[in-house]
Symmetry: D2
Subunit: 333 residues, 4 copies
């Protein structure tokens, strides 16, 4: 029962949002969590470092590095901005690899998580379709591979409902056989903020954790389990319906708190509603279809294609020295 209610509380896959929730409205600094913010050209870069167990517990995220790009104007369809974001993402991803010790010749396996049949969950497979794959040449004609190209393979393992197999099992099986040096896992995420949907990219070195993502991806793809670094790239493409409902309740408090003495009284009473009462209210609203209702913009197909293109082009640029912003278009479709 408590578990059930937990599903209706505010859910986010972004470390940045978890930190914001932990800070509260007063934005109290959190011990053990280091933050560095940089902003230029309409792109806000936040580099979070969860340095120890205390910080980890405080925000409910694993110890590790999290880089978040926020580009509020990204849904506007401005192709110049898209190119800029691709370049910034490529540079940040390259820096990220360097920082966690991944060398120029390390072999990469790109994993596109998610369900290709559900538009907002298709980010991972879409990125995989557009990345430059070279491992076959290293295997078949190693002496003919031109310099400047890293050994890269890629797979979209599908979801449990399509294959009957956890995607993590598929990936682990492939790792055992092909022995890459590191993993890049791409996944669609859920945000608690509508503004961040399709405007935000998160890079993290903590792998993919149970229950993350919007698909059925139970067990983890982590360094501990796989024995090699696993960089997770996530883009929020949906939020849960429960988030919307929670937002209404929040908004009502604010709304009534700013009103007449009469409405202020309502707010006082809303404040008194216990957390459990609140959650059961949310549950009641969403009951008919369960807690897995997702909220997504109607134009999700365009947004997802644009952002998949940014991530794929960025990865191609960051992974292969021979690819740069002037020729990257030729490698993606």
């Amino acid at each position: 029962m408590e578990l059930d209610l937990h599903l209706y509380s505010v859910r986010t896959d972004l470390a940045l949002e978890a930190k914001e929730l932990a800070e509260g409205p007063q934005r109290n600094p959190i011990p053990g969590v280091n933050e560095e913010v940089q902003e230029a050209d309409g792109i806000k870069i936040t580099r979070l470092q969860v340095g120890n167990e205390m910080g980890s517990r405080a925000i409910g995220r694993t110890v590790g590095n999290y880089v978040t790009l926020e580009v509020p104007a990204l849904r506007g369809g401005d192709t110049g901005l898209q190119q800029k974001v691709t370049e910034v993402f490529a540079r940040e991803f390259e820096d990220f690899m360097t920082r966690i010790g991944i060398g120029k010749n390390s072999k990469a396996l790109i994993v596109g998580l998610g369900n290709w049949n559900v538009t907002p969950d298709s980010l991972g497979p879409l990125v995989v379709e557009n990345t430059l794959i070279t491992r076959q040449f290293y295997e078949l004609v190693p002496d003919q591979v031109e310099p400047g190209y890293r050994n890269v393979s890629a797979v979209a393992p599908g979801v449990l409902g399509l294959t009957g197999i956890e995607s993590s099992e598929v990936v682990q099986g492939i790792i055992d056989r092909t022995r890459p040096d590191f993993i890049i896992a791409i996944d669609a995420l859920a945000s608690r903020s509508l503004e961040r949907i399709n405007t935000t990219i998160q890079i993290a070195d903590i792998g993919i954790h149970p229950g993350s993502g919007i698909g059925n991806k139970r067990r983890g793809l982590t360094r501990e389990i796989l024995g090699i670094p696993c960089i997770a790239i996530g883009v929020p493409t949906v939020c849960y319906a429960s988030t919307i409902v929670n937002n209404v309740l929040e908004m009502m408090k604010t709304h009534f708190g700013q009103g007449t003495p009469h409405t202020k009284k309502i707010m006082g009473m809303l404040d008194e509603i216990s957390e459990n009462e609140r959650l059961s209210l949310v549950k009641e609203v969403l009951e008919p279809l369960g807690h897995d209702l997702i909220v997504t913009p109607k134009e999700i197909d365009e947004f997802i294609e644009e952002i998949a293109n940014i991530v794929a082009s960025g990865l191609n640029t960051a992974l292969h020295e021979a690819v740069d912003p002037t020729n990257v278009g030729a490698y993606t479709h």
Copy 2:
């Protein structure tokens, strides 16, 4: 401004729901609207007839016939039930054609509205892919067409964002050239009730109207405009986020109304919030992404494929005498 707020009020594409809203909680009968309900095998059939202008104004729907199949258990994946619904839908559709005077040899053009790239909007194109097309044989080898097959063509005109052309313009152009006797337009709808998503099929003889459906389908496909009957088949596959927010507010009233004297006081005050206050609250919550946020179950890909299969098989059975429930599987993919 008023227009804007209007977008955040309760929206539904189902005549049944429009009627329920007009009836209010007391379920007052509506003059000019005739209703006949029948229930068997877990399938509820409601035949609404909006007989005159008064009824039309009362529920905000065009004068015409509306048949709705509700099958609450349909999302359960029970293949026996799916077969049963296919048969009932085929029978109802055949009766509907007879009732509005469509003969056995009338030529049909099936129009699959919606965006094939957005899963919950892909119902129309999916149905088109699975219907049995025969017009080419009537054109090329008319004397070789076996008896029992009607002249049927089908097209998925795409959406404005993909083609730059209103789907109604595409369809009208095709009608001018190919001269079908009637149109069957299939479209994904929005419901105001989560229970009805992917469990309900509506058949209506009123065509497709401006602003209906979840895609960009402005101008209408109606008998007045096209000069031939246009049967619309609709399945709610989403509801709007604004519906969820409105549901929360409703639910809170009920919730507090059943509680302690203390919470009852909250309800009283909630009741006093004006309609405009309510709408502006909804607007505020959804502002960041606008009013076109859609809510859909995560497993939408499976639901949509199942229900597209039901509609396509049902149409094949109803349109062609040579196709019956025992061989219909062979015609759909």
Copy 3:
């Protein structure tokens, strides 16, 4: 019977090849056909002008302009070359529009012919998916369209087998409704030469003619029928199996002609086989599956995606002044 045999003779959709066949091995110049050849960077451009009826009859092609780009190395996957070809194609297409009197503000309708379910026939639909569509903005918010963007719409009408409707009927219906100033029709072609498959692009102002293309596209899309200019862009993606068989017979003649006195005798006798004998031999070989067998490289998916990307990027650059080679990647997917 004669008709049947005709289907097994050498078939080509390229004017260049029709001219080569008419010239014969001696390459006799053909009255009424003007030719201009230019070669640079591995790209051979041939501008054919069929100036009068005599030329037209001689090569069996309509009076008009034909520009052919041949890039033998294009299948090599060299992204630099692909970019170069995109630029050259864009420039040639722009010149072509100017030459036939299409102005900078003329409204374009792009038509992607062919069957999206058959890889070598999916060129047209693939190009349509990747072109920049603007007509909806001109219709809905005309004063907000930024300068430098032409009014462009696009449609993939499907093939007879999928819709029951000739693609030309669909297109004519759309033209009647949307009144574009000119048409650009993209289609996969058949070549008589294996070398030209996926390495050649033809631009012509003669529309699409009955029986052209590898799909079922009977009636024509021509200036005479439509009343507006129709530029056809074609890429050979297959050759017919009958071509292969004919090639074998040709090759045998050459082979034996160069051999010993003994084999020379064979050649002599092969020469004596009548044309009808030859055709009935071809027919006999292909009988079991009919004359519509197509021959295509196994890696057709990669080739077709690359060349669709070249055509789409080239069109985007040529049609919109605001798009140029440095930003074109952002408009295609």
Copy 4:
């Protein structure tokens, strides 16, 4: 060099054709190869048993069992026949499992080999999309699985060019992790006979061998390598262009052999052409695009969907006791 020429000789993936070639025109029985033929309702079933090494060497196939269904009329689009073939295939597959000792509770992994982007190579992925998957229920809610459903998972591992990884490596990795009791591998094949394209289904217990199939599927999926039985289901969907060329040469011999004394002389001389001369002739014809040219009917999309449906429905019926011919349509899409 010899290797090169070898690629241009007659190639087939069907054991039946290998046997026919070995028998020669006189149809001499082959020691070590046992054959049983049965024919009814337009379906010819041939059960070959390659019993020992001698038989294996004679026809160039591994020791094992091969069942072939030939249905010449299958391309005719007769839905009644398709249903019949589905039933016969299901029955034969069930018998085959019994014969090689696979129990009713053995866990199956279905592997759909091939490239989903190339229509004639997409059979495997198409079948996987339409099979009934249950393993997830056995893993998550084992006590809720209804009786009559076997534990089945399924995967389409892609091809080397898409992933950079051999499909056999992907499959072996998944087997290591998920421990199925047997494998069913589905693959598109090449035939040497145009008649057999899309009309033939082969079931064999010899796994998938290096170089088989039309895709890049090197290393093997065999019992020896995997440690579990691997049933291969193959359908010829193409033949190689070299086969066509060889057919021409054969046909010419026959043709001239039946003619006048004059043409008979040609035949005599054609007979004298050495095997090497013949192969180098074939090579010369196909040189421009290499030996991997495939020949396929233009309507391949319809044929492949129909036969994928037959195989998927047949497998669902054979694998799950709860599925039978009357309800199988509900499980495939």
